[in-house]
Symmetry: D2
Subunit: 356 residues, 4 copies
C-alpha cells in the first residue's frame, strides 16, 4: 500500500446506507482520518449504537454522531463527504466551499451542468446554479484528471454508474448509434435508502419484483447529459429501473444498435473484434472495470462489497443488436466506493487505496 | 362453483415444481379426481413424504408416486398432464394419444408448429413431427375454441405467457410495429426446476441477479411463432431472461414501437386511448388478465399463487416508445394454472374452476 | 362445502397484515359477506388501491376502506373482527358489544383473565377489566364449546398458538413437568406488522437473524395463563423469540422434561408410546393439527398460507429431555385463520369453512 | 500492519464455501503467498472461472485448481489448509505431516481426542487414532499457546465456535452449572456446503425455517469434549440446529443455570456483576470477541464477513436462568477466519493479520 500522510475527513449524513459504507471504508483507509460523522437524527449517540457492526475497529469506538454544523466541520476536516438527500447537500456545500474545504457530494445536487435540466427532473429551481459549473462529475474512468484538481466533485448516481462506462467508449468510437438506447436496470433495496416507508419493509420487498419511476426516472438527466457529452449531440434514452429483493447490487442490461450491420458470421466476428478492442482499450488498465471472459455474464453477487464494475456483451445476429450487461454494488462503485476513488485522486493517493 | 361430474386425471412427472403445483390445484379441483401421480425418482413413496405440505388434504393422504407406465395410466385417467423435461414428454404422449387419452403437456415438445424451428432451438430432430400439427397452443386467451376440442394441448412456456398477452392484441390492431420488440424478463428460481445444480443452490441465488441464455433462449421460438401468427409476417424479437432471488414470479418489461408518432400531449392522449381501448376490448372479460389502473405498475407479489396476469403500460413521449410491463406466477399462469385452464375448457367446465 | 346462510362481517383495522389476511379469507368464505373494512389511514380509498392483489375477486372490486365508526359498523355487520393494535381494540369492542355485535378480537386486549397480569406485561391499567371475564380465549382446540356461544373471542397471539397446542395435552396427561419449560421461537417479519420502522426494512432484515424481547416478551402472559389453567398450578416458562428473514411463519422448538425417566431403550420406547398416544388422542381428529410422521420435522414452508399447525417431537435419552417442534403461519393459524375458525364455530358453520 | 516474511500456503478443497473464503482471505493476507489451490472437480480450471468474484485481484488471475497431490503440495507449501469433507482430510493430513508440513484442518477429522467418541458420532472407526493426540483444537481464545507450536490444528466446527466461547469462562469460574445446558442454533445455508442436494436449492430454503439433526448432531461431540475439559467432569448438553434462509451466519441462544440463586433485584445485580466481570476478564483483550453493551443483542448481520463473535446475555429472575446469545459468520469465525487466526499464531504473525 502506498505511503501517505493522513487527511482529515468528515461524513455529513453518516446514518444512511451510503454514509455507513463511507464510514466503513474510511475507518480502514490508510490515508484518511475520520474526524467527524454527522447525523441530525442520531446526534449525540456513539457510532456503534447505531451500527454495532463497527464495534472494536479502533477509531469506530470513539466516534459519535454530531449535528452537521458547517463552521465546525470546516475546522476539523479538509475533505468532506456529503451523503445527504437531494436538495439538502447544496446547503452544506456552499459554506464549506467558501472555506476552501474540498467536497465530494453523493447527492444529485451538483451532477448536472444545466440548471434547467435540474429543474425539469427535480421539480424545483436549483438553489446555486453557479456552483454547477465548478463541479466535476466524479466518474474517474472518464474525468480522472479533472477530479484530481476539483474542489467540488459530484459523485454519480448508482444507475448512471452501471450504464455509462459500458456505453460511452462505444459511442465515442462510433461503434454504436446514439439513438434508441435502452437501459433496463435491477436494483437492490438499499438503493431506496435507510428511510421508513412501507414500500421498503421486508414483507413488501421479499418475494417481489417491480418496475418503478418509468418512463422518467431522475437519473435519466445525468445519464443523458454524459451520453450527450460523449457524442457531441443530444442523446435521449429509455431507462427502466426495477426493484428486486437483494440488499445490494445493480444489474443493467442495455440494448444498443451497432453502427454497422452484421448479417454473416464473418461480419459478426469483425464487429465483435472492434467492440472488444474498443472496450479493452478503454478498460484494460482501469483498476475497477472488469471485462468478463467470453462465456461469462455478470452476477451481482460477484461485485457486492467491492468497487468493481463487471461487464459482458453479446451480439445478436438475429436482431442486429448489441446486448450489454453490467453489474455493480450500488453502495460501493455506485456510491461510496466511487466517492473514495475521487477522494484518492483529489489527495494524490493511489486511486485504489482503501478499495481493494 | 359450477356443477360438474368428476373427471379422472393423472400427473406424469409430479415431483417437480410444476408437478407439485398441478397436484396442489387438482386435489382441490371440484371436478377432477387425481387418479395417479408418477415419478421415476420417488415411485413407491407416498405423496406426503416428498411434499409434506399436502398432508391432511383428503385424497393427498392416500396418493403414492408410481412409475410412469402409459398403459396403466391410460386405464386410470381420461386426461393426463405431462410435467416432464423437454424431449421426454413426447415419449408418453404418443402411446397415450393412441389410446384416445387427452393430453395437456407442459413441456416444449408440442409448442412449435414447425419441426425445423424445434431443431434449431432444441438441438435435435423432433421425434414425432406429425404430432405437432395436432397440438393446440394452450393459451386460452388466444386459442379458447381450439382448446375446447383439442386432444393434445401444448401448454405455453412461462416467459411466453408473460410476453404474448400484453403484445398480441396491439400487434393485431396494428397499434405497434412488429419490428424491434424487446422483452426483458426477470424470473424466480423455481423456473429452473427441482433439480440439483450448484447454480440454483440457496447460497448461489440469494443476493444475486444475473442474465442468462442471452441472446437466444429457447422460449424465443414459441414467442416468435405466436407473434408471427398474430401479424401474418415473420417476427423476430429480442428476449433477455434474468434470474432473481424470488421463488415464484416473472416480471417482464417490453419495449415496443407504436405505429403512430405522438409528439404532443394531444397525440399521446389519443394514442393512449387507442391502446386502452384495444386492451380493454381484448381483456375486459378475460377472467385472468388484469389491466391495472393508470397509476399502478405490476408487482410479482400481487400475482404469486394466483392465475392472474397483471399488465400496465406507459407511453414515453421522450423516446416515442410504449413500455409494457406484466407479471405472472411462473408456476401458475406460467405453467400449472394455465394447464388447468385448458383442462377446464377441454372438459366443458367453467374456465375458472379450481383457479380462483 | 357445507350449506350456510351468509353472515355479514366487518374487519376493523383491515390495512395491516392480519387485516389483509382476514379480508383475503373472508372474500372467499362461502358463508360470510364482507360488509365493511375500515382503516383510519386509508379511509376513502378502494381496497384494491392498497392491496392490488385482490383485484378482480368479485366483492373486492367494490370494497372501500372507511373510518372505523362503531355505530355504523353495528348497523352493517353481525360479527366484527378487530385487527387493531393492542390498547385500541378495547375502544371499539365496548360500544359494539353493547349493541350485541359478536366480536373476534385479534389483539391482546382480552386474552388475559387477570387485569393485574395485563398491567404487568402491557404497562398500563386495563381500561375495561370487567370485559376480561366475558372473553373466551379463541384457541378452538382447547375452547371449542366456549367459543361456540361466546360473544367476545380473544384470538390468541401467534407465538402462543405455536407453543400451547404441542404442550398442553402432555401437561394435562402428566407426561411432562410444568417446570423448566423453554420455548425458543423464530418468527417471520410480517409478525412485526405493516408499520414503518427502520428495524423492519428489507435491508435490515435480509441476511439477519436476531433475538428480541428476551427474557420477557408480552406473549408470555397468555402462554403462562393457559399453561397454568391446564395444570392447575402457576406455571412460569422461558420464552425467546427471534426474527428471521422470512415473510411468514413461526417455528418453535420447546425443551420439556418428561415426568418419568427413560434411561434404557425400552423405557424410551414406552415413554414414546405414551406421548404418541396422548398427542393422537388430542389431535387425531383435529382438522388443523398435523402430527408429522416419525422421521419428519416441521418446516415453515409446509404450513405457510395454510391454517395447519405441524408438530413433531424427539426424545433425547442423553439429556432426558423431550424436544417438541412446531410450525405455523403466523398470519393464518397464528392470527386470521384461527380467528375465522372461531367465526365458523360462533356461527354454527363447519369449522374448516374457508380454511382448507 | 505488522512486518512479516511471506509463507507459502495451499488450500486443499478450495472449491467449497470454506475453501472459497480461505482463498479470499489468503489472497489479501500480507504474510501469505497462495501457492496452490486444489479441487478434484475443477482441476485444470482457472480460479476465476469458478469464482469470478476474485478476478483482478493480482494473484487470483494466475491461480488454477490442481489435483490434490500430497507430494506436490509438500513441495510448494509450508502450511496447508484442508477444507475437505469429514473422513477425507485424514488421507491428506497423514502424508503431509510425514513431510513436516504444518496442517490446519477444517474438517472434523482431528477435533476429538477420543477415537471412540469419533466412532459414536461419525459412524466409522477413526483411520488414524494416533494423530488425534497430536492435534490441537484450533480455538485461539482457549488454546492460543498450544496452537503457536502445533503442527496439526483441528479448526473447530461452526456451531461449537458459537457455543463454546460464551459458556466456557462461566463454567470455569463456577458461575453456571455444567448440567442442563441447552444450545439452540440457527444457521445460514452456506453451512450445508457447496454441494448439490435438493434440500438446499433456493426454492427449498427460501421462506423456510426448519430444525434438523435433532437431538444428536455430530458437533455435539466436540462441544461436549470441550465443556468437559473446561469443567473436569463429563458434560452432556442439548443442542438443536435449525436452518434459516440466510447465506451466512449462526445465531445461538443458550439456556444456562447459574450456580447461585437470584431472587431479588439485589441478588440479580450481584450475579450480573460476577458474570460481567468473568466475561470481561476472559474477553476484554481478545481481538475477535465482542461483549455487546447492556441494551444490545446480537444480530448476524453485524458479524457476517467478519471474524467477530458477538455476545450478549440476560438474567431472567422469573425463571432463574441465564440466557446467553451469540452470533458469528459460519464461514469466517466459524471456519476460514478462525483457521487463519491459527495460521497467524503458528507462523508468529500478529493474530489479527488479514482478518480486520
Amino acid at each position: 500500500m502506498s505511503q501517505c500522510s493522513s487527511i482529515k475527513v468528515a461524513v455529513v449524513g453518516a446514518s444512511g446506507y451510503s454514509g455507513e459504507e463511507l464510514v466503513s471504508r474510511l475507518l480502514h483507509h490508510p490515508c484518511a482520518e475520520l474526524a467527524a460523522i454527522t447525523s441530525r437524527q442520531y446526534a449525540g449517540q456513539p457510532l456503534n449504537d447505531i451500527f454495532p457492526r463497527f464495534t472494536g475497529q479502533d477509531a469506530a469506538d470513539t466516534l459519535e454522531f454530531t449535528e452537521p454544523d458547517p463552521s465546525i466541520l470546516a475546522q476539523v476536516a479538509e475533505v468532506i463527504f456529503l451523503a445527504l438527500p437531494h436538495g439538502t447537500a447544496v446547503e452544506y456545500a456552499q459554506p464549506l466551499l467558501a472555506k476552501n474545504i474540498k467536497i465530494i457530494d453523493l447527492s444529485a445536487d451538483f451532477r448536472l451542468n444545466n440548471s434547467e435540466t435540474y429543474e425539469e427532473f427535480y421539480g424545483n429551481k436549483h438553489p446555486a446554479p453557479d456552483l454547477l459549473k465548478r463541479a466535476v462529475y466524479g466518474l474517474p474512468e472518464f474525468y480522472r484528471e479533472e477530479i484530481r484538481t476539483a474542489q467540488l466533485v459530484a459523485s454519480p448516481g448508482c444507475y448512471p454508474t452501471s450504464i455509462l462506462p459500458p456505453t460511452v467508449p462505444l459511442l465515442k468510437a462510433g461503434l454504436i448509434k446514439p439513438t434508441g438506447i435502452i437501459a433496463d436496470s435491477l436494483s437492490g433495496v438499499s438503493g431506496a435508502g435507510r428511510n421508513t416507508d412501507i414500500s421498503f419493509l421486508y414483507s413488501e420487498c421479499n418475494e417481489s419484483a417491480r418496475p418503478y419511476s418509468i418512463p422518467k426516472h431522475r437519473h435519466l438527466s445525468e445519464i443523458e447529459q454524459e451520453l450527450s457529452t460523449a457524442t457531441g449531440e443530444s442523446v435521449v434514452i429509455q431507462f427502466s429501473p426495477h426493484l428486486i429483493p437483494v440488499t445490494r447490487g445493480i444489474l443493467t442490461t442495455q440494448y444498443l444498435a451497432p453502427s454497422e450491420k452484421f448479417q454473416s458470421e464473418t461480419e459478426e466476428q469483425a464487429l465483435g473484434e472492434k467492440i472488444s478492442h474498443c472496450l479493452e482499450t478503454a478498460y484494460a488498465t482501469e483498476p475497477f472495470v472488469r471485462l468478463l471472459p467470453a462465456e461469462s455474464l455478470p452476477d451481482t453477487k460477484n461485485v457486492t462489497h467491492t468497487n468493481y464494475l463487471d461487464l459482458a456483451w453479446r451480439l445478436d445476429r438475429r436482431t442486429g443488436r448489441l446486448i450489454m450487461t453490467s453489474a455493480i454494488d450500488n453502495l460501493v462503485k455506485g456510491a461510496s466506493g466511487q466517492a473514495i476513488q475521487s477522494f484518492n485522486l483529489m489527495c494524490g493517493f493511489d486511486e485504489t487505496t482503501g478499495l481493494l
